[in-house]
Symmetry: C2
Subunit: 391 residues, 2 copies
């Protein structure tokens, strides 16, 4: 096992009706004047935003609002948020929404207290400080509620890039599984797929002898495989929603990914797809993962055979573990298809003729040197072949 630090100080407030505690949690963490940041549409229509407002008012705090966050959140709204926070003297950011809203909030939180351009953080600059953030999560997917990560798309060139730092970890996150019951099936399935991807990205490692994190990741994968179809079948299954919501947090606060190298190549390949076509991140991952895994499998057949056997229930063929490994990838593909995800370029709305553009942006964008590095180092030729596997 590799040396590591693990620090996840977020206070999680989990369960029915707990969004009504938002105001007192903000107060507990020192907020007095709040930016209430959200997407729009459903959170407003459902009355959730009004409940959070009421809770903030009840705690005796002031707030201003900034709605309009889109999936694959854009830098334009971040700049707007930063200006607003400075002008209004905001000292706490309350995100109400999914990963996009939380990621946008993190960018605003870091940018408000920074003299330069917030995009610097998404080009590798360390985040040293940020306004405190709280969240009310409305979709189990990104894991941003318990992570130090944020992904923003810069409209200038449509580059989708990530930043990370303990300063932008939420101080508290309110997780009410009932809030996810009104999600359309497609979005629910995208979330399930995203969580599974966060687990695979950690499972693919070059570190040997990491039984504890292997077993934890496998446990979370089996939870998703059990509960995913149950919420697609019955969107009002609170317990299944709850199991998925906690699994989503645990999948990404890194308690199950410490002490080992991780992959994240699937996320890199997907980011280019959602930047170019604005496809849902989970849907992109459903197409990307089986292709990446098929391509890199030969670098550690036994790892792919292990997940196939332990998680997907494939019988282990010790004489030909490649068969077991392939069966596991096939099972993953069947699973995401079964919950309504696309499994190829056409179903995703991506185009073969764009592959050179995707490869170029992936391998040379943002200062990269012609490759992406994860479980396996992939050069332009590798990436082209992997995108072609998605046709």
């Amino acid at each position: 096992m590799d040396n590591f630090d693990f620090y996840s100080p977020t206070h999680f407030v989990f369960g029915k009706d707990r969004e009504n505690e938002a105001g007192q949690m903000i107060k507990k963490f020192g907020g007095t004047k709040v930016l209430l940041h959200y997407g729009g549409g459903s959170a407003v229509r459902s009355g959730l935003i009004d409940r959070v407002k009421a809770s903030i008012e009840k705690a005796g705090l002031e707030y201003i609002e900034l709605g309009g966050v889109q999936p694959n959140p854009l830098s334009g709204l971040v700049y707007e948020g930063i200006e607003l926070c400075r002008k209004e003297g905001i000292d706490f950011i309350m995100a109400v929404g999914g990963g996009s809203v939380i990621d946008s909030s993190k960018a605003i939180a870091a940018g408000t207290v920074y003299d330069g351009d917030f995009w610097d953080f998404y080009c590798g600059k360390e985040i040293e400080e940020a306004l405190p953030i709280g969240t009310v999560l409305t979709i189990a997917a990104a894991g941003s509620e318990g992570s130090p990560d944020s992904v923003i798309t810069n409209e200038d060139g449509m580059m989708k890039r990530g930043a990370s730092g303990d300063a932008i970890r939420p101080r508290f996150s309110i997780l009410n599984p009932a809030l996810t019951q009104t999600l359309p099936a497609f979005q629910t399935a995208c979330g399930v797929t995203d969580i599974i991807a966060h687990l695979y990205e950690r499972y693919l490692t070059n570190t040997k002898e990491v039984e504890v994190t292997d077993r934890l990741i496998e446990g979370l994968m089996m939870t998703m495989i059990h509960e995913g179809p149950r919420v697609i079948e019955n969107p009002d299954n609170y317990d299944a929603r709850a199991n998925i919501m906690w699994a989503g947090m645990m999948a990404h606060n890194n308690s199950c990914g410490v002490g080992r190298t991780q992959d994240w190549n699937s996320h890199q390949l997907e980011h280019e797809l959602s930047a170019l076509y604005n496809v849902a991140h989970g849907a992109g991952l459903a197409v990307v993962m089986p292709a990446v895994f098929t391509y890199v499998m030969k670098h550690d057949v036994m790892r792919f055979a292990q997940v196939a056997s332990r998680v997907w229930g494939c019988s282990m063929d010790y004489n030909n573990p490649e068969l077991t490994a392939k069966a596991g990838i096939g099972a993953l593909k069947n699973f995401v298809k079964s919950i309504g995800m696309p499994v190829n370029f056409e179903e995703l709305g991506a185009k073969e003729e764009d592959i050179p553009k995707l490869v170029e942006a992936l391998c040379y964008g943002n200062g990269r040197d012609g490759s992406v590095n994860g479980f396996v180092k992939l050069d332009t030729e590798d990436c082209r072949k992997i995108y072609e596997l998605m046709l």
Copy 2:
């Protein structure tokens, strides 16, 4: 799933040589004058205490020492520590040792800033504040490095009682698996057994539909079953030590036990044994668990059958799940025996004639009303029968 709060803000510093960072971590968390609290013997002889002192000095901090913590830590030393901290103006407590040292440190931390008798906290009073604590862990077992819990034995009546509160969670914990390589096999096995008990105590629940925490607990159990025998066989297996050490923390910081009722009856029955005979906690649990589980199994046969099947690899007999459940309890008993643990009163050094005294202390001690309440409510008659199963 039940509503819950989860808050685990401890900064974990994991890996080889990392005890040398103790001084800078204390400084990071605001300590200036440190109580260095430890057991004695091996931590001093191995040079560990000297390395931690050097690190504290290098950070430019002052310290005083209080050694002598015993297994099943006693209230007498806690009173001494509190007096010392007050007299010397200590503002940080650095625990170097296992669960006993950490628990003693937690008691001193809470007691120093409290006007009354620290024992009040072990009789149910809420801990509102405490001096900050850091730890260098030397045995993977109690999970106290990441928990809000402390167990102290009061010499007045030899009562072993617990207290809990976020204020006594360590600010940081340094986990270097190499430090556990010099432990005698018996202590290592006691630690493995204690960790397994922390998992069973959470697994036994009356809450339905908690797949995510079931799966996480099972994953940690399988890790312990895989790694336990490997460290008994080869004490220098760093990776196996590392997997056990992280499993031990994850087993007890409650990330895998949230949203469900928990048991803790085995711990209650064991506490009386170690209070009366001063036996090692893990060894006591090895004797207690199979007896408790055999006795309460009938209250949820499918739960015991599930752990037997998923964790211990017993084949599931759906027509007679009681057989599967019993096989799982048998497998647990064989496992603890195989790593050198006692499995009955005689091997533990306990006496049949003391059973009435044990039952009395258990069911009426510390204001209890004649029963202990966990997964199942056990009255004096139940407890007597369970102790008799250990003969």
